[in-house]
Each structure stands twice: as structure tokens, then as C-alpha cells.
């Protein structure tokens, strides 16, 4: 052995240095590469099962891990390719052929096959208790043709079919995984072809998404890890953003002025399909008379409600369909605030001496309480005494769905790039009883017929006309008093960029960037 101890030591040291420096550079490179973005919101999702999700907090998270054959474009109106890169529609509009993009893999590494697509779409269509069964029932069959083509047949011409397939209930999941793990696990850890993988979900606390290495869009997503935390109190959420503890959050309207005034933060605004309105129970004996409902429309100072409730950020709405949605009727007659007219109509309807009404407000929802408080004062001028009842939210919504209410506050966001969903909810009596309003009679049947016709009409211009007429009827009949539509707001620190949310509310964060 010629090695002296000294030499050995030197060699050892050198070796150690190299190893440690390797390690060092390794960790430095890693630190540079790993970008982690944390976002906070007020409420956790309950399920990510595409067949079962029904609340905005579930739906908006859907396209992190999942994707369909096609998807909604950023403007919320158009359809763009996703898993299928091209498609053809038959002459009679009853058969759709989708060609699968080549070589797309699920986040677990398995290749996407036509069988997976057939399984996923029929799973939702046939799922007991799924809120989407009704909408998907128009799909007669899903079959495969060759190794890369899927044939979807519908029972009647369906102009909304592409929108339907772009919606999350038609997300494509691997059949083998789904059958192996069962429904509960699908709800907790869905696997799909989306840009992210849900790696952990601590209920009521946080969801962690990691980059999907198999994502078909080269170079995306740009962040390695995305964390969605739950912070129920909105003050806490904003303070966390201001202190740099989180990178981004949705902003409640009440906090918007404050966040906008903070020079360290950026607020992005996105048009939305959400419209806030007051539902009037048309099946109630007091509100059955259309004159009473019209009187309440005239007695409502919507301008004041908009100023106070949306802090001036909302736009007055005159239809339950938002201007950011397709087929919004731009020529609706203007709604005026006219207390005298309201009194007149009430007198005609036999309520010259006043009318007592009750509004159910979810306890703990301060903005609803504020809305009710203002409405009470406004309607009092027309001789309507509005009693405010604060009840537990779940009780309130079950009363509403049972038709056991008089006045109720609600809003809807469209889940698809088509008008058919909201129109059917509001005008078709059999499915949801005209969105719980119990609206009925000749005019309602007329609106229902229009909506059904538009649901089968392939000519876009004709459809717009039909939906336009329907909106006029709804405004005349007042099953709801439309109030305002407010954009979605996301606040983030300055080093975050490319935040995207479409008018349906879906977050699109695959291009999100964070600079240090």
C-alpha cells in the first residue's frame, strides 16, 4: 500500500467535497426548478367524482386532474379540442365521430383507449343519484370504431352536445383504475389526463396537486406543485395574502377595495355567467298573481342593491342569463324602479292595504342578510311588509326545493358553454319545477316550448332568437327578479402571472407562472 494516511485523507476530503458540492448544486437547481403556488379559498370541495360533483367548489376544481374529449375555451363560449383533436358531425346531426389525439397518457402512465372514453361517459349517464343523468340522457350510445375513434350517437339533434362533452361529467378516466378503486376513491383521487395529479387531500384543509409528467401539452403545466388551502374566514384569507403566506386567493366583493388599494397585490377580473336574483314562489297564493310579482320588480331598487351588495363592481342584470354567456338577449326592455307603479299593480291585485311576505335567509350569510335588510326597507315603500327569517342554510334550501317559501335569494353559474342548461332549469317544469319557483301557466308553457325547440335547433341564429323570446317572457312573468352579475376576482402577489378563470368559473392554471 503506497497510500499514506495524509494522501488518503486528502482523497477522502476531495471526494467528500465533490459529493457535497454535487449535492449542493443538485439542491440549488432543484430549488430553482420547483415552483409551488398556494391558493386559498373559503370552502373545501366535497367530491371530485365527475358523476357526482354539483357544487361550484367541486366543479371549479375539476379540470386540474381531469379532461374530456373536448373542452371549453377561455371565453366560455367556444369549444376547443382536448383528448380528441378532430371530430366530424353527420348530415342528420345524430352521429358524432371523435378522433383521439395520438399517444395521450393518463397521469398514472396508462395510455388512453376508446374503451376508457366509452366507460367514463356511460358511467356518468347511468350513475344512480347523479345530478347529470338527465342532461346526458340524450346520448343514446357511445361506441368505438377502430383504435382511435369514438362514435357518439344522440337521440335527437343536440346543438349543445359538444358543450355537454366539454363539461366535467364527461371527463375521461381510466376504466381499469376506476373499477379497481371504486366510487369512494374516485371521489377522493380521480385520475385523468389533466395537467395536474391530486397527490393528497386533507379534507377541510388542503389539496395538493403535482405536475402531471404525462400531460400531452408540451412544457405544461409550468408550476410543479399547486396547493389549494381552505380558509373559511375571508379576512384571514386576505391577510394571509398580504403577509405573503399564500400566493393567491379569490376575493369576496366586500374585500375588493382593500385588495385593490394594496400596491403589492394584483387583482385579475374575469367575466362570469353568475347572476344573482330573487326567486319568487309563483305557486304561493300571494305571489301566484303575475301583477304582484311585477309590482315587486318595480318596487325593487336594483341600483341601490347593486351598489351596496356588489360594492359597485356588479352590472345590473335583466335576465337570468348573463351577458357573458351565449344567447343573452341584448334587446330586453329596461327595468325601471317605480314605486307608484308597484302600488298600482298591488292595488289591482287586491293588496291595496298591504302585503305580508317572508324571506328565508341562510343564517351566517352576512351579504344575504344585508340584501334582505335593504329589500325590507325598499318594499315597505310600496306597502309590502317583508319579514326576515334567518334559518340554517340546509333547512332553507330544503324548504326551497319543497316549495315551502315565499321569497328566496339565489344565483346560478352556468356549467357549460351553452345556454340550454340554465334555460332548462328555469323554464322546464318537470325537472326542477322551474328552479324551485313553481312557475306555471300558459306563459310558462310557451317558454318551455321555446327552450325545448332551441334544444334541438341546429341553426345558431334561430336558436338565439328562440332563447331571446324566452328571456322576454321570463322578464314579463317575473318568476325571479334579476339583480346583477359580478365578475370573478382573483387576487395574487406580483410574482404570479397567467391566472385564468373562464366565465363558467373553472380555474385554468396550467400556464400559471411564478417568478422569484
Amino acid at each position: 500500500m503506497h497510500f499514506s494516511r495524509k494522501k488518503l485523507m486528502a482523497l477522502l476530503m476531495a471526494g467528500l467535497c465533490t459529493i457535497s458540492s454535487l449535492g449542493m448544486t443538485g439542491s440549488i437547481v432543484k430549488a430553482e426548478e420547483t415552483t409551488r403556488v398556494v391558493m386559498a379559498r373559503g370552502i373545501d370541495s366535497t367530491t371530485l367524482d365527475p358523476a357526482m360533483a354539483s357544487k361550484n367548489q367541486d366543479i371549479w376544481m375539476m379540470n386540474f386532474a381531469l379532461e374530456g374529449l373536448v373542452r371549453a375555451a377561455e371565453n366560455g363560449k367556444d369549444i376547443e379540442p382536448a383528448l380528441a383533436d378532430t371530430w366530424e358531425i353527420s348530415e342528420d346531426n345524430l352521429t358524432y365521430k371523435f378522433h383521439l389525439r395520438e399517444g395521450v397518457k393518463f397521469s398514472n402512465g396508462e395510455e388512453v383507449t376508446p374503451e376508457d372514453c366509452i366507460y367514463s361517459i356511460t358511467r356518468t349517464r347511468d350513475k344512480e343519484g347523479s345530478p347529470w343523468q338527465g342532461m346526458l340522457s340524450v346520448i343514446e350510445s357511445v361506441e368505438k370504431e377502430g383504435d382511435d375513434t369514438i362514435v357518439v350517437k344522440v337521440s335527437q339533434p343536440t346543438p349543445a352536445l359538444l358543450s355537454l362533452l366539454a363539461m366535467f361529467p364527461c371527463s375521461i378516466m381510466p376504466q381499469s383504475y376506476c373499477e379497481e378503486v371504486g366510487d369512494d376513491q374516485i371521489a377522493n383521487a380521480p385520475v385523468g389526463t389533466g395537467p395536474f395529479i391530486l397527490t393528497s387531500w386533507e379534507k377541510n384543509s388542503q389539496m395538493v396537486f403535482e405536475k402531471n409528467p404525462y400531460y400531452w401539452q408540451e412544457g405544461l403545466p409550468t408550476v410543479d406543485e399547486f396547493v389549494m388551502t381552505v380558509v373559511a374566514d375571508e379576512n384571514t384569507r386576505i391577510m394571509q395574502l398580504q403577509s405573503g403566506q399564500i400566493d393567491m386567493t379569490d376575493v369576496p366583493l366586500a374585500q375588493l377595495d382593500l385588495v385593490k388599494a394594496d400596491s403589492n397585490l394584483v387583482v385579475d377580473e374575469f367575466p362570469s355567467t353568475a347572476v344573482d336574483y330573487i326567486i319568487l314562489n309563483c305557486a304561493n297564493e300571494k305571489l301566484e298573481d303575475v301583477r304582484v310579482r311585477q309590482a315587486l320588480l318595480y318596487a325593487t331598487d336594483r341600483e341601490a342593491l347593486n351598489t351596496a351588495l356588489s360594492f359597485g363592481y356588479g352590472k345590473l342584470a335583466d335576465s337570468f342569463i348573463s351577458p357573458a354567456a351565449p344567447h343573452y338577449n341584448t334587446n330586453l326592455p329596461e327595468i325601471t324602479y317605480d314605486v307608484e307603479k308597484a302600488k298600482e299593480l298591488l292595488a289591482e291585485a287586491g293588496y291595496a292595504d298591504g302585503l305580508d311576505l317572508r324571506v328565508d335567509v341562510g343564517s351566517g350569510y352576512s351579504s344575504e342578510l344585508q340584501e334582505a335588510t335593504m329589500l325590507k326597507e325598499q318594499w315597505a315603500k310600496a306597502g309590502v311588509n317583508l319579514e326576515i327569517e334567518q334559518i340554517d342554510r340546509a333547512t332553507a334550501s330544503s324548504n326551497w326545493s319543497a316549495g315551502d317559501y315565499e321569497v328566496y335569494f339565489s344565483y346560478l353559474t352556468s356549467d357549460m358553454t351553452d345556454t340550454s342548461q340554465l334555460s332548462e332549469l328555469w323554464c322546464v317544469s318537470e325537472s326542477t319545477n322551474c328552479w324551485g319557483s313553481g312557475w306555471h301557466g300558459e306563459k310558462q308553457q310557451e317558454a318551455e316550448a321555446l327552450v325545448k325547440e332551441a334544444g334541438m335547433e341546429m341553426d345558431e341564429e334561430k336558436r338565439a332568437e328562440l332563447y331571446g323570446q324566452m328571456q322576454e317572457i321570463v322578464l314579463e312573468e317575473v318568476p325571479n327578479i334579476p339583480l346583477y352579475t359580478t365578475p370573478f376576482y382573483v387576487a395574487h402577489s406580483k410574482n404570479i402571472d397567467n391566472v385564468k378563470q373562464n366565465p363558467l368559473g373553472n380555474y385554468r392554471f396550467e400556464e400559471l407562472t411564478k417568478t422569484n
Binding site: 374566514d233 375571508e234 379576512n235 386576505i238 391577510m239 369576496p252 366586500a254 374585500q255 377595495d257 382593500l258 341601490a304 351598489t307 351596496a308 335567509v361 341562510g362 343564517s363 351566517g364 350569510y365 352576512s366 342578510l369 344585508q370 334582505a372 335588510t373 335593504m374 325590507k376 326597507e377 326576515i388 327569517e389 334567518q390 334559518i391 340554517d392 340546509a394 333547512t395
Partner: protein, 269 residues
């Protein structure tokens, strides 16, 4: 020397309490503004000479709301305390006096009662019956009586064998008379002291319920509801929640001072 000190804090507490009682009885004497009228041109205004405590998100005057809210808050504190105190004291008295099965029953009921977390019980009650003052009373009552029952029971147990009770028994007095006329006056002091601090606790519970959205129905002015209503705006309109908070604290201190003074005087007797 000592006597004088007691009377000073007692006096201070008393004066403050009188003012607060005044606000509860004749609120219109303290402010000319209405607690519920909205003013859309004066939203979220900072305290000024026109609005001493500022205005809220509907342009309502906070000072007026605080003044008019006094009656409700005092009522919540005092009545919620009274019903629980009376129920609890009587049950504790009866259980301890008769002992054996009766006592064992009470203890089991207490076991079951304590096994339910307070806030959960309240949330459940409110969910069943709806929110509002009445149901808040019921919730506080259902949960509050057990402390009095425990307190009185243990006091009675230590009194029961004392000579005067035995004497009363040999004189042939009825159980009811012995309990109410002989034992009760001797065990009531502890419950009284507890009751004073309980008023404040009841008021705080009311405020916390409003915070969770389970309290008084709008637009009734109530301190807890005002505080929780201002929570949304706390970073830019601090006055909405700070002033009612201070008034609540001052009331609590005043009640405690008066209570302590009274208790000391009772001891001195």
C-alpha cells in the same frame, strides 16, 4: 379603610350600570338617530361628530345601534341567567336533599348533559328550531342550568346534616318548607356570585352565536350581531366592531364590580 375601597369600585360600577340601564329603558334619550334607517350616501363612514361611532355598510349609525341594542343584550344576559339559575338551583336542591335515587338520577342526567359539547348542542338546537332570540334563550337555558345544579347540590350536601335541619325535621316541618325556608337561604350565596359572572357569560355566548350566524335576526340591533357584521370590514372599517366590543367589555366590568361589591357586603353581614 377596606370598606371604603369596596364602595368606590362598587360605586363606579353602579354608576356605569345605571347609565347602561338608562340606555336599555329610554334609548331615545341618548341618541336622536334611528338604529335601523339606512343611508346609502353614508356607507362605512369613520367616526365623526355626526356619527360618533361611525356608520356601517348600510349607512346606519353605529352609536344608535349600540344604544338600542343595550336592551336586547341586557335581556339576554339577565333572563338567560335567571331561567338557568332558577332551574339549576331547584334541581340541585331537590336532588341533594332527597339523595339516593333522586340524586343518582340527577347525576346521570348531568353526565349526559356534560357529554355534549356546548356549542354543538346550541348549533343543533338552533338548526332544529331556527335562529333568533327565543331559541338562543332555550339553548343557553338547556346548557346553563347544570352548573347551578352542581354548585347548589354540593353546598346542600355539606349543609344537610347541620343541626338546624335536624331541628326543623323534629319540629315536623314539611320537606318543602325545610328546603325553601331553611336550606336555600344558606346555600344561595355561592349561586348568587356565580350568577353575576354568568350574566356576562350569557352575553358573550350570545355574541359568539351571532358570530357563527346563529344569533338574533336582522335588522334588530344587538351587540354581538353588530360586531360580527363588522367582521367583514374589520381591516378597513374597524369602528363597526370595536365600539360595540368596548361597550360590551365595559358593561361586563361594571356588572362584575357591582356583583363583587354586593357579594362582599353579603359576606360582611
Amino acid at each position: 379603610m377596606k370598606k371604603k375601597k369596596i364602595s368606590i369600585s362598587f360605586l363606579a360600577g353602579g354608576v356605569v350600570l345605571l347609565i347602561i340601564l338608562g340606555m336599555a329603558v329610554v334609548p331615545q334619550a341618548f341618541t336622536s338617530q334611528s338604529p335601523i334607517s339606512q343611508d346609502m350616501s353614508a356607507l362605512l363612514q369613520a367616526p365623526s361628530s355626526a356619527h360618533w361611532f361611525g356608520t356601517d355598510e348600510l349607512g346606519r349609525d353605529i352609536f344608535a345601534r349600540v344604544v338600542y341594542g343595550t336592551r336586547i343584550d341586557l335581556a339576554i344576559g339577565v333572563f338567560a341567567m335567571l331561567v338557568s339559575a332558577i332551574t339549576g338551583t331547584l334541581l340541585g336542591l331537590v336532588a341533594a336533599y332527597y339523595g339516593k335515587t333522586v340524586d343518582a338520577c340527577l347525576m346521570r342526567v348531568l353526565d349526559v348533559m356534560t357529554a355534549f359539547p356546548f356549542i354543538i348542542l346550541v348549533i343543533a338546537i338552533v338548526a332544529i328550531m331556527g335562529s333568533g332570540i327565543r331559541n338562543m334563550f332555550i339553548a343557553i337555558w338547556l346548557v346553563g342550568w347544570k352548573d347551578y345544579a352542581k354548585l347548589v347540590r354540593s353546598e346542600v350536601l355539606s349543609e344537610k346534616n347541620i343541626e338546624y335541619v335536624a331541628a326543623a325535621k323534629t319540629l315536623g316541618y314539611s320537606n318543602l318548607r325545610i328546603m325553601l325556608r331553611h336550606i336555600l337561604p344558606n346555600v344561595i350565596d355561592g349561586a348568587f356570585v356565580y350568577a353575576i359572572s354568568d350574566i356576562m357569560m350569557c352575553m358573550l355566548v350570545g355574541a359568539s352565536l351571532s358570530f357563527l350566524g346563529l344569533g338574533v335576526s336582522a335588522p334588530t340591533p344587538e351587540w354581538g350581531a353588530i360586531i360580527s357584521g363588522g367582521r367583514t370590514f374589520i381591516t378597513r372599517a374597524w369602528w363597526i366592531s370595536v365600539f360595540p366590543g368596548i361597550v360590551l367589555a365595559v358593561t361586563g366590568v361594571a356588572i362584575s364590580l357591582v356583583g363583587k361589591g354586593t357579594a362582599d357586603m353579603m359576606k360582611g353581614r
